[in-house]
Symmetry: C2
Subunit: 287 residues, 2 copies
């Protein structure tokens, strides 16, 4: 298994350091629960997308670090919710016991709330006014009923009923795709990119996000818990891309989505090579 590219681990380190700075340091239960999930080992793919897009559009990655960290805070909040007994009731996440098993359900819910809140506080404090507002509006759109929360709600219904492929895709465009798109768009906005560049990067991220989710479904069936940090077949009772299309079909679909993602990068030429490396790593199931 080839190592992650240098830029990738460099970005991860910056975002981890930023998260360490942003998260509350005190020893209260909520503060500990917030740090527990937000600082747990993670590939921080969404943050890497933000920093790569900022870099591609001409901003020093430095300037996009707070927005990248905010995206990871939102993502960490969604993981806590996802694992709750009333949602997926999952025992293991990022190689650790789920937040609610470690801290109790009430504190876990408050921690998720606190992480979302900190994400918006970070955007408001760390970025210049007009940009901060655009990033917050963008993030709010990605989290709301048309994004993460909407996808999660559809997913709850889907667990109870049979669903078709279109619905499965809609769930994951909400649960995963929306935040990937916000991650890419945030990076581009910070660099002052124009609408064409933003649209291209959003298309890249939308397809990459869906591919990422399909790989996640594959790893749920085939993966090693020591590497995925989650229980194997945790999603067995759910309709996934694997239960729908089979292992081969799901693999094929993920590869096609990565190829579609790459095609959206054509206008950038070789400058988008980092994003291509990223999709290649997703396609190779290295992320």
């Amino acid at each position: 298994m080839s190592a992650l590219p240098r830029f990738f681990s460099d970005y991860q380190q910056r975002v981890s350091a930023e998260l360490g700075r942003l998260l509350p340091q005190r020893d209260g239960a909520v503060e500990r629960a917030m740090r527990y999930t937000a600082l747990a080992p993670s590939k921080q793919v969404r943050a890497v997308v933000t920093l790569s897009c900022a870099d591609l559009c001409g901003a020093p990655a430095e300037r996009a670090v707070p927005a990248a960290a905010a995206i990871e805070l939102v993502h960490a909040a969604s993981l806590i919710l996802d694992d709750l007994p009333s949602m997926d009731d999952a025992p293991l996440r990022r190689g650790r016991r789920a937040n609610h098993l470690e801290f109790g359900e009430a504190i876990a819910i408050l921690a998720a709330f606190g992480l979302l809140n900190l994400a918006f506080g970070t955007l408001a404090r760390a970025h210049d006014p007009p940009l901060a507002g655009r990033l917050a509006a963008l993030t709010s759109g990605a989290v709301g009923p048309d994004g993460l929360i909407g996808g999660q709600a559809l997913d709850l219904l889907a667990t109870e009923r049979g669903i078709d492929f279109e619905m499965l895709e809609r769930i994951h465009r909400g649960k995963t795709g929306a935040l990937f798109v916000a991650a890419a768009t945030s990076g581009a906005l910070i660099a002052g990119a124009g609408p064409d560049a933003i649209a291209a990067l959003a298309a890249y991220a939308k397809n990459l996000g869906l591919a990422f989710q399909i790989i996640d479904d594959l790893l749920d069936v085939e993966g090693d818990p020591a590497e995925t940090g989650k229980a194997v077949r945790a999603d067995a009772r759910k309709t996934t891309f694997v239960s729908f299309s089979g292992l081969d079909g799901a693999r094929q679909l993920a590869l096609e989505l990565c190829a579609t993602a790459d095609r959206a990068l054509a206008p950038f030429g070789a400058r988008a090579d980092r994003l291509r490396e990223l999709s290649a790593f997703v396609a190779a199931r290295r992320l």
Copy 2:
């Protein structure tokens, strides 16, 4: 029982109309659950504080309506969380079945998440850039571990153990006071008020918020569910200001806090009469 002052019902109507506009209209479960609590009958005291403070500091109340609505969205989110089985496990709120009893726990949690998210989206979209950032930072501070979430976490621990008066006060400065202070400060900021005016209004709101909570504890014991919209003695297993100081002691404390709130208004003279009417209504247990 005397009617609410004219300005009060005028402010309520504006905020209700704004909430109706802001909330998602679609018929999904999360959207309905968001509307269910955020549009349920409510006195909207926090929003009225925001609009009154904006007016006092010279801004047309109009301009503060989105921020006032955002504060009410945050408050509605906190009510949903507060009532969850893992928190207070309360059956009745705003005269209706608790959100999780109506929609199930998972959707209720997502709705609370969605309301907090909408609050930040609203601040980002509805206010001019530099102001929007300050309002979002302020709100994030009031919601975080030093405010609402921190107070709620302390409250959870307090339900399990005995606590002293200082801790009881700390809980409610977080759970209730922080958002009242943010409500007042938001209104003042929107009007471009200086630090002295902001500090005075924050002091007013801090004391008013605590008085409001104590009255809430009194109504929990003595109130009519048809008026409070909550079950009587829902907080019986908790340490409240009433269980600590007795009915007379709690009444006395609420009156003293309202008097302290009013003293903070001295620099404004008669211009602060609306805020004095507000604290008089709280003291008279009309809110």
